[in-house]
């Protein structure tokens, strides 16, 4: 049980931590709003030089392998709905580490998405 809780914590925390690190990197690259091949290539090469991008990708890979481990310990119908918590943890992390303003409306939306994803996976 403790092992399972630890595994799920790694999936959620490393997963959201990785996405937050990747977001941090992309915010430094500069905005890309057009789908122009040269601009996209420039954005990708610029992002690849930022350590936070690679830290993020490494954390996301760690979360993926932790998920595989969790799935081998318990049923999919339990593991996947629990990982829907990532939406709430992610919004919290975005507020704390990226300085994003999560207003009441967004919190409510995030909570509903979290509940809805859990229901879809259970159903």
């Amino acid at each position: 049980m403790a092992r399972l809780a630890f595994g799920i914590a790694i999936v959620v925390l490393a997963g959201t931590g990785g996405e937050i690190a990747v977001s941090h990197a992309m915010k430094r690259v500069g905005e890309v709003t057009t789908l122009n091949a040269r601009t996209i290539l420039r954005a990708i090469t610029r992002a690849a030089r930022l350590p936070s991008l690679w830290i993020g990708i490494a954390l996301m890979a760690a979360a993926f392998f932790a998920l595989l481990a969790v799935l081998s310990w318990t049923e999919v119908s339990f593991a996947i709905p629990v990982t829907a918590l990532s939406y709430v943890v992610g919004a919290f992390g975005a507020r704390v580490f990226l300085g994003e303003q999560v207003n009441g409306l967004r919190w409510l939306g995030v909570a509903l998405v979290c509940a809805g994803v859990a229901l879809v996976c259970l159903g």
Binding site: V22, M26, E31, R42, R46, G109
Partner: protein, 135 residues
């Protein structure tokens, strides 16, 4: 536009991967030989490669989206993929959707709708990469 692409690519990629892997069959992870055989079977499956390609494109589109939009905006909105996959399975493949899943689909739609009503970016903008091209 990019948002639509991200949701579509992740849904299509996951469906293709799952179709490809169902073809490969259940994998016994305790035997190295079986693992290697499954890996080889997956590696010659066009569906698996198309799925990997879609997911790679998804990741690039996701990164570009994060270059200007809040993570706390993008992450819940892309959960719309959880609505799209069962709907595609229901509409195109005639798969059954349980009542609980319909409820989940409705709840996600309301949640995505609420998040879409908030400003996509709440942090200070950085210079546009597009505009630097001419310099």
């Amino acid at each position: 536009m990019l948002l639509v692409l991200v949701v579509l690519l992740s849904a299509v990629g996951n469906v293709l991967l799952s179709v490809g892997m169902k073809h490969v069959g259940a994998v016994d992870i305790r035997s190295l030989g079986a693992l290697a055989a499954a890996g080889a079977a997956a590696a010659i499956s066009p569906a698996v490669w198309l799925g990997i390609g879609s997911l790679l494109l998804f990741f690039i589109a996701y990164l570009l989206l994060l270059s200007w939009a809040d993570y706390s905006f993008v992450s819940p909105v892309t959960a719309f993929g959880y609505v799209l996959v069962p709907l595609l399975g229901w509409g195109l493949l005639g798969e059954q959707v349980s009542p609980l899943r319909w409820v989940g689909i409705a709840v996600i739609c309301v949640g995505v709708g609420l998040v879409s009503g908030t400003p996509p970016r709440t942090t200070a903008p950085v210079p546009m990469l597009d505009e630097e091209e001419g310099r």
